[in-house]
Symmetry: C2
Subunit: 515 residues, 2 copies
């Protein structure tokens, strides 16, 4: 049924309602191979040979069945599966230029892939596109300690950049749970956010320049080690967050602040979400410029996390020992005495006003890290429970938790066993709302139909965003024109895509609706 | 001679050398009226009537001779003069849409104008284009104190936004000398930087969304009150810094941090530029997250400033009482005790290591402001001296002052009376290098030929930028393809311009070379 809907002309869509159409395409987009694209052709073994001949020493081409290449075909969630039989592992932008130029000439789809840790199916093929992996492009070209500017290739693992910068007394202004695997090129291509976004800003703020290979093989060099450069259009921004649909990012200049000499954290519990909001206000006032992170977790997710991690603040009145809401608040600064004093004043004020039920302060760095281990376990603990519906939304802070309650109520009668679990970067209004069916790892399509597009429509009604930091990929691309961009903005997006990639070879069927 | 060079085909350019060509066009671009554009026509009185009929109540059209409309035709420096006879003052984006759509249909050039405080001739007409002034579009739509997001129309004066935000305990993260006159729309269109760029980041970091009217009259609404929104290409960035060549910005969402409760400043003197650099390193270490501004001034500019302002740190060994280099360092924070202590530790360390010759600390806010008055007088004091060659460059910090010394040496034999005066945001590697001929207000073309393009070539050799924060406008547009963007980047810029403004009506002859 769904394959019928995906006619090349898309005319069948006119016959179905929006929600039917959105659902049908969403289901379709998770299955590979069935997509009959008119603009692209399937690569053959001789294409693999031709691609191999374009590589220099050090680069290689992997071929095999989709199962042999499952590392490259299957996403982190195991939900999106491509059928690529060719993976190219170049070492240089020049090689990528030749590869992409060849594929453009031959009308073969190309999927750029970094650490493949994305959560919206954006980094794996939809069908049998050629995967261009940046895993061998992992040179760090240096960090200028005068200016704090790091230059590196796209395939550097984020954790490696953190270590490299820390050895030079600097900090990479991006941190997220997947840092041990994700690559900076993928981070930039998806405009990754993470837990220190509030303090350091987005990658639009911190990427000073980049190099990208365009669909026709042009190497577009807009690298820069200048913090200020107002000479013409700042085109790097087009590539940040474009999810590999406009070019393959190959090199990056990143602004890195000095490493803070002091880190402190508090783990706090609140009885009501109103208290969470009041605590946030007090944090901004009392911690001011030291405030680095303000993370939220609800009781439902900590129930899952506490199987493997001791929660440092427990509630004796609760059968599971948990309060309704938890916060992880971190300061980073240059003077530990001052930061500790600020944190103490912050807690004192909260306790005095009764805005927190209880809380603990870190005594050393290992305790800061133990608190973060709880927060970073939210995702894997939820994934381990059962099938996982993941929603990454922006929502006005005053309504941040209302949407979770609304959705809990909505699914209660359909799947009373399903768990709604929440965590997120509340200081940025970014909620990770998750649903899981304990013990059941197959998707319950009836539950999906209850969740979507209702949840997204509710987000838009509340003036939020249906994708705060994960992107659209294959998971939300069908909603782009319906619930994300208005007609004029979508038209300009299509013009830009057409300008940079007229044959549509780059990361096909991602970001834009396939309908 | 220069008008001959500007043939429509530009073919005459092939016969002249690059530097001749650059100079000839630069001179040409300062004179209005002579430009024979083939793509645009001159507006007539009947166009003025037609434009008036497109306005709602509250909007108006001014007509008159170029001299009558000199406020709109002449730039702040008095150097660039247009010959517009029609100025439109709309109040809404819908009116602008109708105006621009009309001009597009009629092939009439349109110059968007905010406070007209730009320093590169970007906000005044080259010839007789219609000026669209945003001065009546000055509604502030509100500041959400939960999220810190301010929404306002493009014509709001920056100072008014500062006052409005401060009354609501927030801070507009952009500050510059012209804040009493410049408008936020112009700030965004030119990606203005200013003195707190280091602390708060660029407008790419702080503008969350905007509305712009495109050349065909389309109102492109990419406003957003979400800090995180990864749904498709983030097109607002194209307009930030595009100097009105892609659309007229009409509305802005701006992220505003909480107002700091504490401000402290130090005015320091150094004997060598090496000491300036060491002081910067110590400031980053000791002041850390509180460091808000680190401004540089040399003896030459303070000689001019001290006619009207008392310099709080003087040198008894110097006949004029001045040290070679001065710094204004400001902290902003949430705890005055901590900030004062950090500043005291900072000064103690500097004095102990002998990195500063002398210095004073502010005792109250009025003293902070008195120090800033010195810094903000650098520009007007230089302007008052004589003709002013203004260069706004980025340069690696280790070579920050080398270029000033190099240029001083270069002009010494030609114009020994000319003064090279320097100030800037050294923490961002942004130098304002100025040359003035005391008592002589006409441009000495021989001196210009000594300065340009040599200075820009020197900047590029040093891997800097020929325009850090002022933009290209008419002043540096001829250098875009020569000394700013490579061929591939320039080609993509032209494609983007062609896509958004195929008839070239928006701010013609700005940003792009006319040759």
């Amino acid at each position: 049924m769904s394959s019928l809907l995906v006619s090349a002309s898309g005319s069948a869509c006119l016959r179905c309602s929006r929600s039917q159409r959105l659902r049908a395409f969403r289901f379709f987009s998770k299955t590979a191979g069935a997509h009959s694209r008119t603009n692209l052709r399937s690569p053959t073994p001789s294409d693999a040979q031709a691609l191999a001949s374009l590589l220099d020493q050090g680069g290689s081409v992997l071929t095999g069945s989709p199962a042999d290449l499952s590392k490259y075909n299957v996403d982190w969630k195991g939900e999106y599966r491509g059928e690529s039989r060719i993976v190219v592992q170049p070492k240089t932008a020049r090689e990528i230029s030749r590869i992409v130029s060849y594929c453009n000439g031959e009308r073969i789809g190309v999927v750029p892939q970094g650490g493949n840790t994305g959560l919206v199916g954006g980094s794996v093929p939809v069908s049998d596109e050629v995967v261009v992996s940046t895993e061998r492009m992992n040179a760090i070209h240096g960090l200028d300690t005068d200016s704090g500017i790091l230059t590196c290739d796209a395939g550097c693992v984020l954790q490696d950049l953190h270590s490299y910068a820390a050895e030079r007394n600097h900090l990479v202004p991006l941190d997220l749970g997947a840092k041990g695997t994700c690559q900076i090129g993928g981070n930039v291509a998806t405009n990754a956010g993470g837990q220190y976004f509030y303090r350091f800003g987005s990658l639009h703020a911190n990427v000073l320049g980049l190099e990208a290979v365009l669909a026709d093989g042009t190497i577009l060099n807009v690298t820069s080690t200048n913090r200020k450069d107002n000479t013409g259009y700042d085109m790097k921004h087009l590539f940040i967050g474009s999810e590999g649909t406009l070019g393959l990012i190959t090199k990056i200049n990143l602004s890195c602040p000095q490493l803070p000499s002091s880190r402190n954290a508090a783990f706090l519990a609140c009885e009501t979400f109103g208290d969470v909001l009041k605590t946030l206000t007090v944090a901004k006032e009392e911690l001011g410029e030291c405030l680095a992170a303000f993370e939220f977790m609800d009781r439902a997710v900590l129930r899952l996390v506490q199987k493997d991690h001791r929660i440092p603040v427990t509630c004796s009145a609760d059968s599971e020992g948990l309060y309704p809401f938890y916060l992880l608040v971190e300061t980073q600064g240059s003077n530990d005495t001052h930061d500790s004093e600020k944190m103490a004043l912050f807690l004192e004020k909260l306790l005095h006003c009764g805005q927190i039920a209880d809380g603990v302060l870190s005594q050393d760095l290992s305790q800061v890290e133990a608190m973060w281990a709880i927060r970073e376990n939210c995702n894997p603990a939820t994934k381990a429970m059962g099938h996982n519906w993941k929603y990454d939304i922006s929502i006005p802070v005053s309504e941040y938790y209302d949407i979770a309650e609304e959705m809990r109520e909505r699914i209660r009668n359909v799947r009373p066993d399903a768990l709604c679990v929440c965590w997120g970067h509340v200081v940025d209004c970014n909620l990770h709302f998750n649903v899981t069916t304990p013990g059941e790892f197959e998707e319950d399509e009836e539950l999906t139909a209850i969740l979507e597009p209702y949840l997204f429509e509710s987000v838009v009604r509340r003036k939020g965003s249906i994708s705060a930091e994960h992107g659209l990929g294959r998971c939300k691309n069908e909603y782009l024109g319906e619930l994300a961009k208005n007609e004029a903005a979508l038209a300009k997006m299509r013009m830009i895509k057409g300008m940079f990639d007229p044959r549509g070879i780059l990361n096909p069927d991602k970001v834009f609706p396939t309908c």
